[in-house]
């Protein structure tokens, strides 16, 4: 097992990042998916990950959501370890109970929405607040309605997901995640499964979030224009590593790495 003694029990000092990936590794059998990833995300920062298929983008988000175990290294959220817990002055892999507490500051939206099909839009958004946060039905409803209003879905609140378009479902999914009041929101290709004409209604909601809420966001997308518009920073992933990261303007207009250049011109050619 990995020697974790050199990893701090918690992050201290000024400028504590909201999220820190510290030497994070992940492999499936022989396949190394993430190779010693180091990435800090500041509070309220919007970071976008781009890169070719299979470069490990989704894996980064899934590990942060604790859907995937970590292969090595430590992830910290808000200064505290997420994947590990302190025990007798050292870090050990987190148990289910610790994970449950630690992941409460993280929310995620998926490519295929994953709404609960047997619940209405409103019920989808109330489920977590009632069951997990212990809100009363009335409080949860108020919170859910406010968020459904924000994403423009209030008039469909009593519909089941099967009656909603993909764009509408994704907006409900965003409201459902926000209802848990996360500090960090993860978006994994949330527009990839959508028809082109409804992509805008989802990206507009996310754009709103960057201006109106104090949220740290980590997004994977194939929409370069959108990434350029709203990100504070863009990371280009290649082969489980950050090949290059920079401000969107710099990365898109003046990519330094050969691989970034190739990727961007390939994407442009496909558009």
């Amino acid at each position: 097992m990995e020697d974790l003694t050199s990893y701090p029990l918690e992050l201290t000092g000024p400028d504590i990042p909201m999220v820190r990936f510290l030497n994070v590794r992940k492999s499936y059998g022989e396949l190394i998916v993430l190779d010693n990833l180091n990435l800090d995300i500041s509070p309220n920062e919007m970071v976008t990950i781009i890169g070719p298929s299979g470069s490990g983008k989704t894996t980064v988000l899934r590990m942060l959501m604790t859907l995937e175990t970590i292969g090595g290294g430590v992830i910290y959220v808000d200064g505290k370890p997420l994947t590990h817990m302190p025990k007798n002055g050292a870090l050990v892999p987190a148990d289910a109970r610790y994970l449950r507490k630690a992941r409460s500051s993280i929310g995620m939206c998926f490519q295929h929405f994953n709404l609960f099909p047997h619940m209405t839009a409103l019920q989808n958004c109330m489920e977590g607040p009632v069951q997990v946060l212990g809100l009363s039905g009335r409080e949860a409803r108020e919170r859910a309605e406010e968020l459904l209003m924000m994403v423009g879905m209030i008039d469909k609140k009593d519909q089941h997901p099967s009656r909603l378009s993909g764009g509408q479902q994704q907006r409900v999914a965003i409201a459902r995640a926000l209802a848990m009041r996360p500090k960090v929101m993860l978006f994994d290709e949330v527009t990839s499964a959508l028809d082109p004409e409804v992509i805008g209604e989802v990206t507009n909601v996310i754009r709103d979030l960057t201006t109106r809420h104090s949220l740290t966001m980590l997004m994977v997308t194939h929409q370069m224009g959108f990434a350029r518009d709203i990100s504070d920073r863009v990371c280009f992933f290649f082969g489980g590593k950050i090949e290059e990261q920079d401000s969107p303007d710099e990365l898109f207009s003046n990519p330094k790495s050969k691989r970034t250049q190739q990727f961007l011109s390939a994407v442009k050619a496909a558009d």
Partner: protein, 221 residues
């Protein structure tokens, strides 16, 4: 042998009364089967390998041996180990466990049909494992299982006559008794057949209606 309407009228109340017992046996047996079957299904999904293994083997064993043997076993072998059970209790245990094994497979199929994304959404909003099952997974897994579960409800009902072998006073036992006393079997056995036919058909259509209703209620058609 001529059909005797007078005799029919005379034994009918007794037969109908026994029908109540048959329905009760099927109902109780089914509730036991439904609950234990769910436990069997969930036990096979825990991370505890040995528990999963044991439950798998038990389910396999029950499914591979005849119900009648299991009924005899509980009723006659139990006392040799100091476990004296009344015919009703022994019968309910045997038939409940037997169908629990079958129902657990139905549940398992239903649970496994739920996409992985639903579990991930549960984690993302931080539901516990128990909450995920109760609120998200089972409500989706059960509606598509209703047809399968309904078939076993009809089967358990049709298997209740086997309980007559250990003396549970159900419909078959009543027919045997009436027939033996009067040396006439045509009417009692025919009545048994007709009653089973009516109830089975009614139950089957009720189950179809119920399935549709649940699907509509959950907005899943």
């Amino acid at each position: 042998m001529q059909w005797d309407w007078e005799f029919t009228a005379e034994i009918l109340p007794k037969m109908l009364w026994a029908t109540v017992n048959t329905l009760m046996a099927a109902g109780i047996g089914y509730v036991i089967a439904a609950v234990i079957g769910l436990l069997f299904a969930l036990a096979q999904r825990t991370p505890f390998r040995s528990l999963t293994f044991i439950v798998r083997e038990v389910v396999e064993f029950i499914r591979s041996t005849p119900l009648i043997l299991q009924i005899f076993f509980v009723y006659y072998v139990g006392p040799e180990y100091g476990l004296w059970l009344s015919p009703w209790v022994a019968g309910m245990i045997a038939i409940g466990l037997h169908y629990a094994a079958y129902l657990s497979e139905v549940y398992r199929g239903g649970i496994e049909s739920i996409p992985k994304g639903q579990w991930e959404a549960c984690t993302a909003i931080n539901l516990t494992m128990a909450q995920s099952y109760r609120r998200i997974i089972l409500p989706q897994a059960i509606p598509p299982s209703i047809a399968g579960m309904g078939n076993y409800l009809v089967s358990i009902f049709k298997d209740t006559p086997m309980l007559s072998v250990i003396g549970v006073e159900e419909l078959m036992q009543a027919a045997n008794a009436v027939g033996g006393q009067n040396y006439r079997y045509l009417e009692p056995y025919t009545i048994v057949g007709v009653i089973f036919l009516i109830i089975s058909l009614t139950a089957a259509s009720a189950i179809r209606g119920f399935e549709g209703w649940i699907r509509r209620k959950l907005g899943m058609e």
